[in-house]
Symmetry: C2
DNA sequence: CCTATTATATACAATATTGTCAATAATGAG
DNA sequence: CTCATTATTGACAATATTGTATATAATAGG
């Protein structure tokens, strides 16, 4: 105990509340990989964040409060990603696909699963309305490309957005198991191959449907 | 306690091991809806199955054993569904879609998520090879439809199967949140609408690609 | 510098959860 | 019927987990 006294001689690090919350949320996000929200343990998260578990309770009130904060974070991330994709380069539908797949693969899909599993405490019955913006933006693009006087069905556009979401989401969750690539390099190659194929797929469809 | 003695006077029901396992697995499957594998509690499952929790441990060895048995069941269900779809009516790719969507929506997608969350203890690194059969079957169909001498790319067929899987899977997990239908009837209508759209989508693509 | 605020940590309480053990009762075989 | 087998269970043990209480130290404002 003498050693401990000398080594960690009461050196508390006092963070700002925002910083502490951020640290804890990030630790929870990565650490929740095994088990989802039901598998989240305060002690585990605390250790990963470098704090004690009562500190988590101090900042989030309860375990449930932490999970709700995580869900809010996920919804925000989804919104940010989508807005980012829309704002970057909506020249064609094809080159918008790669960043979408990348974002979902980068943990977003996994977090969306957790969000669904936690019950709709955050979103309420409202669902995921941020996709609506995407539908409207793509629809405007399609009408522009179709030229004046040509009618484009918005239900069709909505279906395309939904399918793209399902493709990116499903690929992120199931893709690796379906592909069974022998090497990481091969896995990446097959990922890109599927993305490109899907982009072409969309183009084939849209060029025929307008 | 006199009441209890009269009411439940030592009336144990002794099931066959198979029946007991089946009861427990079914209870676990439905009861796991909230939380996934990490949220599975022996006491909860036992109560739903109408047994005491040591009975579960007797039949499955441990909580982990129960989860593995559940995963095995999921893999079997997936295989059964796919074989069923293949064997029923592979006249065109379009009319095979409805039963696939129905199966995934019927809890299979949710169980696949749990399967992924439990780590690949059951499948090993092998992934989900049962989809390969589907690829081969659809490929044979496409070659038949394309007529003699026409080359059909099997990578293309594989991508179609993957996309269909992602569509059915994603729709089962996210569909309701994306649609936000006001009534259950409307929800079903929108489900079918999307399925039909996707079937047409596939046809538009395949009729151009062969 | 002095003080109020509060983020942090240790110790503890209360409960939940998995797993063990021994007793018991249902069933089938002889 | 008798008996061995074993599915079942209540009681218990051991640990895990969330949440509370209290003390303390870091920081900001005077």
């Amino acid at each position: 105990m003498a050693i401990k006294d000398l080594a960690s001689k009461n050196k508390r690090i006092r963070r700002t509340p925002e910083e502490a919350r951020r640290l804890i949320l990030e630790a929870a996000e990565t650490g929740m990989a095994a088990g989802g929200p039901a598998g989240l343990r305060l002690e585990t998260v605390a250790k990963a964040a470098g704090v004690s578990h009562p500190t988590i309770l101090h900042h989030f009130g309860s375990r449930e409060g932490l999970i709700q904060a995580l869900n809010l974070r996920t919804v925000e991330q989804l919104r940010t990603v989508l807005i980012d994709v829309l704002g970057s380069s909506p020249q064609s539908s094809e080159n918008a696909i790669t960043p979408i797949f990348a974002a979902y693969r980068n943990g977003l899909a996994q977090r969306m699963v957790w969000l669904m599993q936690s019950g709709s405490l955050v979103m309420g019955p409202a669902g995921l309305p941020m996709l609506d913006e995407m539908v409207l933006a793509l629809h405007a693009l399609r009408e522009r490309l179709a030229g004046p006087g040509v009618q484009v069905d918005i239900a069709d556009t909505r279906a395309i957005v939904h399918l793209t979401t399902f493709a990116a989401f499903g690929d992120a969750i199931l893709g690796k198991r379906l592909r069974r690539a022998p090497t990481p390099a091969e896995e990446i190659a097959q990922q890109q191959s599927f993305e490109n194929w899907f982009g072409e797929f969309l183009n084939v469809y849209m060029s025929r449907k307008g």
